[in-house]
């Protein structure tokens, strides 16, 4: 499958993995620290992120400037989604929505 630029901006989240996307979705309604992220993602998507996976994804997102770390509270660092992060998430969700709609339509047409 080739790359697709849909005009609304390139979907840079296509290659970052599910954990990173779930973290961005979880941070979309406000800053959270690691434990709160794990709990929220479990509730939101039924996915239990391992702590190693979580920190790997947080580092990757921070390097891409899609999230930023806030000053530590006690020993916990809250993370916040950045403006480019929110924009990237919007593009990705739009793309997922289009694929999802196409899939539903094809299922309907196929009569399955």
């Amino acid at each position: 499958m080739g790359k697709r630029d849909d005009g609304a901006g390139q979907d840079i989240l296509r290659r970052v993995g599910e954990a990173s996307v779930l973290i961005l979705i979880s941070l979309a309604d406000g800053p959270k620290h690691g434990y709160a992220l794990i709990q929220d993602i479990k509730e939101l998507a039924g996915v239990e992120l391992g702590p190693g996976t979580l920190y790997g994804a947080l580092d990757r997102l921070e390097r891409l400037a899609l999230i930023e770390s806030l000053p530590a509270e006690d020993r916990r660092h809250p993370y916040r989604i950045t403006a480019p992060g929110a924009a990237a998430l919007r593009v990705h969700l739009d793309s997922l929505e289009r694929v999802s709609a196409a899939g539903r339509l094809r299922l309907q047409l196929g009569g399955i």
Binding site: H33, G34, Y35, I38, G50, P51, G52, T53, L54, Y55, G56, D59, A72, D74, R75, R76, H77
Partner: protein, 140 residues
């Protein structure tokens, strides 16, 4: 972490991360492990997750880390695997002594002597046809 064993296990896993990562996340990661263990997550699975994360952290190329360092880490991993395989394979000759590849001679065969072995080659020097019909008994 109240359980000292769980605490040691997680701390050992966290020590596997690069120093740069530990400076940034170690305290927070230990705290997170404490909270997850309190919630009932097994310490082993937390430690395993951190171990996998540490391996990924070492193997992911970073701008500050040269590719040769990553190659070295990979080489060390491959060598360790090679040593393990070699150690496993070294038990093979010992087994070979216990059960030699040649099966024991059938009961009807007389004991072999040096002269018998020399006679094994036909006098003509030509290969002899072997008849393996029903009721064939393996020759001595």
């Amino acid at each position: 972490m109240n359980d000292p064993r769980a605490s040691r296990l997680v701390e050992a896993a966290l020590r596997c991360y690069p120093a740069r990562w530990r400076r940034r996340h170690a305290d927070e990661a230990a705290e997170l492990a404490t909270l997850l263990i309190r919630d009932g997550t097994p310490a082993r699975s937390i430690a395993w997750s951190y171990l996998v994360g540490a391996a990924r952290e070492w193997l992911t190329p970073r701008p500050g880390r040269r590719l040769s360092a990553v190659a070295c880490a990979l080489l060390v991993a491959v060598c360790s695997l090679g040593v393990s395989v070699a150690l496993l394979a070294s038990t093979q000759p010992a087994r070979a002594v216990v059960s030699p590849s040649r099966p024991p001679a059938p009961a009807h065969c007389p004991p072999r002597s040096a002269s018998h072995a020399a006679d094994a080659v036909p006098a003509t020097g030509h290969p002899q046809p072997v008849n393996r019909g029903p009721g064939h008994v393996r020759p001595c």
